[in-house]
Structure formats: C-alpha cells, structure tokens
Symmetry: C2
Subunit: 248 residues, 2 copies
C-alpha cells in the first residue's frame, strides 16, 4: 500500500431495510448521511475531527455537495464509501468520494466543499495555517470524474410546499440538519420520477434555519428531468439551493 492509498478512507455499509425506497434502492438522504459521517471518521482519524476541533473552538461546516450516480445499492447489499481530500485552500477544502457497489465497482462519485469556522466568532479559519499546515499532507491525487458543484439559480416566486421545522429536523446545534433538507427536497417529487433513478444531485448550504421556522420550497423545472430548488426560511431568507437531475 502506498502512502496515498493510506490517506483514502474506506467505510463499508449494508443498505438496511428502512434505508431503501419503494424500488429497494438506498435513498439519497441516507447516502448523504453516510457521506457526511465518512468525512467525520476520516478527519477524526487524522486529527482534524469535530471532537478535536471543538476543543480548539472550531467546527467543520458543509458548504456544497454534488453527487452523481450510475446506480444505488439494493436492499441488504454491501457497499463501500471511499473519501479523500482533493484540495486545501485558505478558506475551503474539497473532499471527494467514490461509492463502490458490493463487487467494488464504482457506481457513483461525490464532491463536497467544507469550511472551518470559529465557534465563538463564526468566522472562517485559515485552513492552510491550521495545525502548522498539517491538513495539506492529506491531499490525494485520485480521479473524481464528475463536475464540480454548479451555480444554482431559482426564479420561481411561488412556493410548491411549506412546512414548519419540527423536532426530528433539528440537530445538536439547534439547526435543521443537512440531511433533513435533502429528504424534504426528495419529497417534493412524485414517486414516478424515482423509477428512472437520480443521475445527479447538488446542495448548496447558504444559511441555517431553526426550530419552528417556516420553510418554503421553490422549484424551477429546467427540463422534464432537471429541477432547481430553493428553500427559504420565514418568507425571504435563502437557506439552501439544490439541483435534482433524474435519468431521462
């Protein structure tokens, strides 16, 4: 094993019964949950995890996520998520993923962009200087053959759905959790759309929302298989933007 191999985190899962949809495929919310957990394991194992950072009064914040899929694991199938750091900039780091099926064949890739913020000031940390530049040692050159997260623009002024943020939406920081936004967005689309499968999904996290906030969902249909989505809180503040591309 080379040094580079060692820097790629590998985590194996099984697609549990309550984690698959009506087609028996792992849902994207659960996949997102696993991707974010893998980021946590991978950075913790290398001294950059939330627990260590919290001691130093810092935390990771997910800014963008793009997932592109050929397929998703079926119920009871094993699958593996690989994750590695592609780039470290002053204020952001790019973390990539490969999703491997039970035969270790890649069935999807993901790209994510993270910032680190100071918990007291909420200001971003300088990643290059942090820990004397240690984080840059974890950069791996490995192919991630999908496009970077795009700029998402939504023009619709009429929400297609509204809801109040409830108990199961809220995480330990008092925010609606990153995965719940994904699940609420999935629920905007009818079952038929999922029969063809999801080809690409993007999230851009813009601002936090809180318990009892009214979340409004705005959708632009770009093509019959491609949608841009925006979630606002309490009428006007943009919380996140998303793009959903189904197989056509």
């Amino acid at each position: 094993m080379t040094d580079q191999d060692n820097q790629i985190g590998r985590y194996s899962y099984v697609a549990e019964p309550f984690h698959v949809d009506f087609e028996g495929k792992l849902t994207l919310g659960i996949l997102g949950n696993h991707l974010l957990n893998c980021a946590g394991f991978h950075s913790s194992d290398r001294g950059f995890g939330i627990a260590k950072l919290n001691e130093d009064n810092y935390t990771w914040v997910l800014s963008r996520l793009a997932i592109e899929l050929e397929d998703l694991p079926n119920q009871y199938e094993e699958f593996t998520i690989e994750t590695w750091v592609e780039n470290v900039y002053r204020l952001f780091t790019d973390r990539n993923y490969a999703i491997l099926d039970k035969d270790n064949r890649p069935i999807g890739y993901a790209r994510s962009v993270w910032a680190m913020i100071n918990l007291s000031t909420r200001k971003p940390a300088n990643l290059i200087e942090l820990h004397g530049g240690d984080i840059s040692e974890y950069i791996v050159e490995k192919d991630c053959p999908i496009e970077k997260p795009s700029r998402i623009k939504v023009t619709s002024q009429e929400p297609v759905a509204k809801m109040l943020a409830k108990y199961t939406d809220i995480d330990i920081n008092g925010h609606v959790n990153s995965i719940r936004y994904i699940e609420h967005i999935l629920d905007l689309f009818p079952l038929e759309k999922y029969k063809k499968g999801i080809r690409r999904f993007e999230m851009a996290y813009v601002a936090e929302s809180y318990y009892n906030d009214e979340l409004s969902f705005y959708v632009d249909e770009l093509t019959p298989s491609e949608y841009a989505i925006e979630i606002k809180r309490n009428g006007d503040q943009i919380v996140c933007r998303s793009k959903m591309v189904f197989n056509s």
Copy 2:
C-alpha cells in the same frame, strides 16, 4: 457462555451526529430502526430471517412495540442492543430488547410482538408448526422489566395534523415504513417536551398506508406528560395507535 447466552443477539452502534436530537440524544426513530434491524439480524442468523422466509413466501410483520427508557445514548457514544425471543405462540412471537449504554449498563428495554404472514394469502402462519417447531428452541428466559404493550384508545375527533405520504415515507413493499410513523408522531410534540426526555413509547400497527394517502393525526392528552395518538388514512381507516409518556 451458556446456550441461553448464545441465543441472545448483541449488536453495537455509535450515536451518529444526524441521529441525535437538539439535546444530543439518540432520537427514538433511530432507536426503533436499530431495534427492528436487530430483530432482522437475530432471526436471519438463526434461519428465520426475511430472506429465507421470502423464499418460502412468508414475511415477518411487526404488530406492537413498547420502549421504556431511563436515558438515551449521547452523540458519538457507543451503545449495544441485546435481543431475544421471550415467547412463541401460534400466531405471534414476543421479542424483547435491552439497550445498554457505553458502560454496558441497561438504560432501556423494549418489547415487540410479531406475526408471520404468507405473502400470497396475507394470512398468518402457524409459528409453532413452522420449520418443525424450530423457532421455540430460541426462547430465552431473561428479565425484561417493563410492562407489555397496553390497549390504546383515542377519542379525539379533530386531527392536530394532516400530511400526504411522500417518497421518503415509502418502503420496498410500497407501504409507509414503520419508522416514519414514529418520526411523524415525534414531530407532533414541541421541542420543550423532549427536554425532560421520553419515559415510555408504544406503537400498535393496525393497517398499512400507501403513497399519497392522507394521514391524519389525532391526539388525546391523558395527563400533561402522557398522550394517546391515532393515525388514520384517508379520513377513516385506522393505521396505527401510539402512546407517548414524557418524564414529568
């Protein structure tokens, strides 16, 4: 290790970040998910799992669940679920659980009641005769110091919430999944209730609901910390009943 010990399934978990609530405690929906998965692992390992049963055209159906808690695991803490078969009757089997914290101290128990049905006829199987009575060999005498699931009665005629069953609600069988009902019930209560913690929670699964069904939620406040809940589909058909007891 005695034979009896060997018949108790033990499964260890970590309370993941997106699986804990605003207090940093594992949510009850996730605990329910783990309990049901453990039933699956335990029965599969002993030749009574869904995969084996489906071959023979049978499946397990959860009828009742009661969970009683002193505490719940905190974020990033390890915990263990033990499960065993308490009784096998002609049409039902009682499966119990203990929830152990990171120090292997019991912090909760659960009781569940399952039936097995024929997938073609939807009629219940005779569990005592099945596989020549093999299942009875797995009965374990182990203490489960909580009351059995109770009879739940709801009188309210005015729903407190209504929703349509959506994509993320639906499982591989086309039904709203057992865990989503729990999550929707949790979301009926304000955040403040959860600060004191949940003492006991019960579910009685009565009938299936389906994609796009309108689910209505009826709640009787029995005391300021005790509630009986009923979910109906499309106005009149009872889907499940639940009881929620918060610490007072």
